[in-house]
Point group: C2
Chain length 284, copies 2
Amino acid sequence: MKVAILGYGNIGRAAEKAIKAAPDMELAGVFHHNDCLNCIDADVVLVCTPTREVQKFATVLAARCICTVDSFDIHGQIWNLRDSLDAVCRSNKCVSVISAGWDPGSDSMIRAILMALAPKGITYTNFGPGRSMGHTVAAKSIPGVKNALSMTIPLGTGIHRRMVYIELADGADFKTVEAAILADDYFAHDETHVVAVESVDALNNVAHGVNLVRSGVSGETHNQRFEFNMEINNPALTGQVMVSCARAAMKMKDRGEYGAKTMIEIAPVDLLAGTKESLVKALV
Amino acid sequence: MKVAILGYGNIGRAAEKAIKAAPDMELAGVFHHNDCLNCIDADVVLVCTPTREVQKFATVLAARCICTVDSFDIHGQIWNLRDSLDAVCRSNKCVSVISAGWDPGSDSMIRAILMALAPKGITYTNFGPGRSMGHTVAAKSIPGVKNALSMTIPLGTGIHRRMVYIELADGADFKTVEAAILADDYFAHDETHVVAVESVDALNNVAHGVNLVRSGVSGETHNQRFEFNMEINNPALTGQVMVSCARAAMKMKDRGEYGAKTMIEIAPVDLLAGTKESLVKALV
């Protein structure tokens, strides 16, 4: 299976390592987002560009009958992306796996399984501790901030604290900057603490995690309790998930199951290398 | 969707409640294992008989083009059951979901997903605390034992302690009975403690659980840590899993994906009631 990478940031680099570690894949090249897409010769392309550029690239590649995997993560727009890519994939007999990261992604699979185990109940997804990309970008955009890092701290029941570490620009006033961050829509709804530091870079750490909890009802039986925890290197996991989904895309394409798929639409065995017999014997 | 139950023990009773709680199902009858199988009129039959009788019943039903779900749990024989039922299901254009409980079953899905997230590493499945059916039956068969309960206690890294509670038969000698239990092949390989009690029935509790742990490598990044925990009512969960798998069987049949499937071959979304759009929007 020839797998190419489009976009070479943190995720693209991590995906490259996962492709090289996969027994059934070879790297078909690394392409930058302004390279000619027609030059890509691959069975699957991992679209590792910024999330807002995913749809454009995935659509062009699907129109060329090339499977794609992305980790599109704008929650409210996932169904629209699926809907739009689905038509292109079906017309061109290929498969596009979308929103293939850990959340959305593998966490979504866990949430779906827990709902099947206990259809009534509440699932809480508690993120972190780990860096929030969106909140970090929002904090960096505040006047007077030279550099920033926003950490997401789980407080349980889906409530999160924001720890915002900032380097002040020359002459900036901490209290003014702090007030601007606290008033920003990204931070105004959560408990937020702003901390001035000498070097944001010195805090750099791609660790992340999740604590996903469900208490629910199986049949008529309440108090069925489930918990899923991860403590992981964020880009390494995202890259690996994309590579596992590239395999699933090829298997689904080979079976004629064309279209765009989120990870809850993928059978777990399709993510794995090896024969079905060996995997059933090892895992079931 | 009309769902019938074959076999009315703990699991059959729990499955009945889960069918009644499902928004998209109606109960098509409860049948005993010696009822006439030709009288069953249903889209799916949940085969809730003892595990050794599953293959016989599922084969007869599949030959009548009726989908089945079972919770066959003899580990070394799952692939053979799948292989045999797969041919019958394909010939008769139906779907048989096998080994659909929590282990084998939903735990198998979790193990497969964790392997996709970190392909190299070790997964430990730690069971309990909860009653082991097989060990309880083994303890009951020892001469001098009037009644018994064998509890599985997780010690981590897949190692388990057996706590065997027994009521002695009249005139039986505890030390002799204890020695026989410890020498039995079911117990000889684990740390086992035998405790004489007045009433085994007074200890009765269908609670069970699992602690499933993986530390592995995503790409080249080690120390990726994952954990899945459950504390559940055992028959209630098994019945619910079978009912969710009945739904998946019908969806796969409707798409023409005939054959026998273990749960790692099922996309999580197929286990759930509701439209794909609503489920993707709620869970992904």
